[in-house]
């Protein structure tokens, strides 16, 4: 049996992996056509203000001949309204996240359709597994838009996929509401098609920095993942901390890393950090957190443990990080005490599948679809420009709270605001919780930040003590 064949195949696979990792930045196509549309539209709007609406529509149709786009432009053309939804359903994506989002989407679709659909038409959600990979994100969009002819796209969990997807949204002028992708540039590039209801990484970094500043820390270690989410998030956090005079060092690891012993040894060999902030996600974060606890790095009296937000899944957390008591963790999205009626109704259905309060990405998935449905209904049309206009004018309360997008085509982002505020929902709840009893449910964990939501009147429960 030829050994050379095995080695060649293996090297080929390895090269493919390395190349795909290097090629994580999507090829950006300059679509001049779209630009022209904008210009033409502006001109025509002014001129045809007193003219019948139909003329305006005609102009736009002529000016958007993007090859491949097959979404219907008017509701009369279709029996059902197709909306695309991307999510991770296989590794290296977060299958856990994808499962939650799929459940949420299905709850939303049932709700919409049993309520008569959108303007009398049923909604059909088409799923696509992006597995967190940029090339799959692109493939997902191309498929959904040119094969399934979806009128809009919602969802996505991983920034790596989202960063690639936004380019395709722009190319085909398809309204897109991103549910859980944090990378700043997704809205930072200011595409009119792209909206986001998750926080931008910088928002989160700002909250992290504010909390750490309030704790009076001077040196922090950040452990992050090698991805389009992890690296920028770590950079943003480092910047924000530096602006507050807090020093930090960042260690990065690939998704799926199991053995953190060398990096823990390294951290312990250097200056003792006052906190370790874990930006790794999924089971990778559990591996680090448990090994750090076993090695006596954190949580200790000297070093605060700020676990990754997946720690909110308390049963899973305690199984995988049994020595993780006194870890804090950030929580994006609502806690039960902040739930409104929409949240509670959704929670009830969500608990039929998972016995826990819906995670932020589940709420976001639900909301992203409901938002899009709401916008199509308000626009009364499948015309992308009208949907976009309706989205920009959103004022509706859904599971995560009241949605609005302060900055858009009608109100551009001013110079003193960061560029990612474009089409960004600004009121994302970001809290810090802390476990203080082994095996504790997340519902019973203490809220320690921001001050107005604290449940135990403290920023931090000291290691080993009761609140």
């Amino acid at each position: 049996m030829s050994r050379k064949i095995y080695i060649s195949v293996f090297l080929l696979v390895v090269s493919a992996i390395i190349l795909s990792a290097c090629a994580s930045e999507p090829v950006v196509e300059t679509v001049v056509v779209t630009q022209e549309v904008v210009v033409t539209e502006q001109v025509e709007v002014i001129v045809t203000q007193e003219v019948v609406v139909t003329e305006e529509v005609e102009v736009i149709v002529e000016a958007t001949p993007v090859a491949g786009r097959c979404a219907p432009m008017s509701l009369d053309e279709v029996e059902t309204i197709k909306i695309g939804a991307t999510l991770p359903q296989s590794a290296p994506g977060s299958v856990v996240g994808g499962l939650a989002m799929q459940t949420a989407f299905n709850i939303a679709v049932d709700e919409i359709n049993s309520g008569g659909g959108i303007l009398g038409k049923d909604v059909d959600v088409i799923f696509y597994d992006t597995a967190s990979l940029p090339e799959r994100g692109t493939a997902a969009m191309e498929y959904l838009i040119t094969q399934e002819c979806v009128a809009a796209v919602v969802g996505e969990y991983h920034s790596s996929a989202g960063v690639a997807m936004k380019e395709v949204s722009k190319k085909y002028h398809i309204p897109t509401v991103f549910a859980e992708t944090w990378n700043d540039t997704i809205t930072g590039v200011g595409y009119e098609e792209v909206f986001r209801i998750a926080p931008a990484s910088s928002i989160v970094a700002a909250v992290d920095a504010n909390y750490l500043e309030a704790l009076g820390l001077e040196y922090v270690v950040i452990v992050t993942e090698n991805s389009d989410y992890g690296i920028p998030a770590a950079e943003a956090t480092t910047e924000q901390l530096a602006a507050k005079g807090i020093e930090s060092d960042t260690f990065s690891a690939d998704i799926g890393t199991q053995d953190f012993a060398p990096v823990i040894a390294r951290i312990q060999a250097g200056e003792t950090p006052e906190a370790v902030l874990v930006l790794l996600t999924g089971e990778t974060s559990y591996n680090f957190e448990q090994q750090a606890a076993e090695a006596g790095l954190m949580p200790t009296a000297e070093t605060i443990c700020i676990a990754n937000q997946v720690a909110i899944n308390s049963e899973e957390f305690w199984t995988n990080v049994p020595d993780g008591n006194y870890c804090s963790f950030r929580k994006v999205g609502l806690v039960p005490s902040l739930a409104n009626d929409v949240t509670l109704a959704f929670e009830e259905k969500y608990r039929e599948r998972f016995d826990r309060f819906p995670e932020s990405y589940a709420l976001e998935a639900y909301d992203s679809l409901m938002l899009m449905a709401n916008a199509i209904e308000t626009a009364g049309s499948l015309d992308p420009d009208e949907i976009i206009a309706a989205l920009e004018a959103t004022d509706i309360t859904l599971a995560q709270g009241r949605y609005h997008f302060p900055y858009g085509t009608q109100n551009p982002v001013p110079a003193d605001q960061p560029d990612w505020m474009w089409h960004q929902w600004p009121d994302v709840a970001v809290l810090f919780l802390q476990y203080f009893e082994e095996g504790q449910s997340a519902d019973d964990a203490a809220v320690v930040w921001p001050p107005q939501y604290q449940t135990h009147d403290t920023l931090l429960i000291p290691f080993g003590e009761s609140p």
Binding site: S90, A261, A269, N320
Partner: protein
Amino acid sequence: MVDITGQYMLNLLLNGLLIGVIYALMALGLTLIFSVLGIVSFAHGEFYMIGGYVVYFVLQRFTNLHPYFAVLIAGLVTFVIGFIAERLLLQPLAKGEIERPAEYAILITFGLAFFLQFLMIAIVGPFPKKAARFFDLPEISTDILVTTATTLRIFEVPLSGNRLIAAVTAAILISATIFFMAKTWLGRGLQAVSQDRQAAAVVGINPLKMNTLAFSLGTMLAGMSGAVLVAVFSWVPWVGVPASGKSFIVIVLGGMGSMPGAVLGGLILGVVESLGAGLIPDPGRALAYKDAIGLLIFALVLLIKPTGLFGRDL
């Protein structure tokens, strides 16, 4: 940034060895399969993954069961699955019934890998699982050695109790395997077939039976590697993918088909990865390069001595 003290180096070295022993156990199985069947099983990591899950579920169901029994059960389960897989998928290859054997061997084990992985996702779901610690360490306190239930400190270098137990268990299993190969008739038969298939046949050894035995033993060793690690790392259905890759590197490093090579190669890889992650100047990237280090070794071996450390004379 890092003070390179003797203690730091000892930390890296010891942790590297602990992980290396596990690499060695897993690679032992893969090299056994290669030495007798002449193919590389790309599904090896999936047996590692299944072994871990078996221990997790067995210990969940029978909380008072001694963890070593669970490890043995995991070995038994992966042995049986390997047996069935070999009979169904690989025997035709050995009997010469396949038209394009080289391509078939690669594709069929890849196919098996995907099948097992996604089957497990469907059965157990994607949520990370972890078995409870196998044993609490006895509490000792001397000048050099201090232990708590979870951690052992030697010369003040902290070693995870879990990991230590896993490594010791793996070492026991490696020794058992070596004993089996050297001292039992079946082990001798496997060695004979791996050294010269035709000669073994003309002295009365059934090569097809040895194929099945070798593959099943190989998958059993992979399964037991996973079985000892499920209390150390969080377990998900795709946990076998990087493990497969590491095993492959180890057997090429040690010499494909060589059992001492697999053991030494595993230890070397574990130590080099640990040293690399701990010593590469850029702390931000050092851990991320850990896997690259393994591949670098791989490339160097192929360039300098393609047959590996204990490579067979071609």
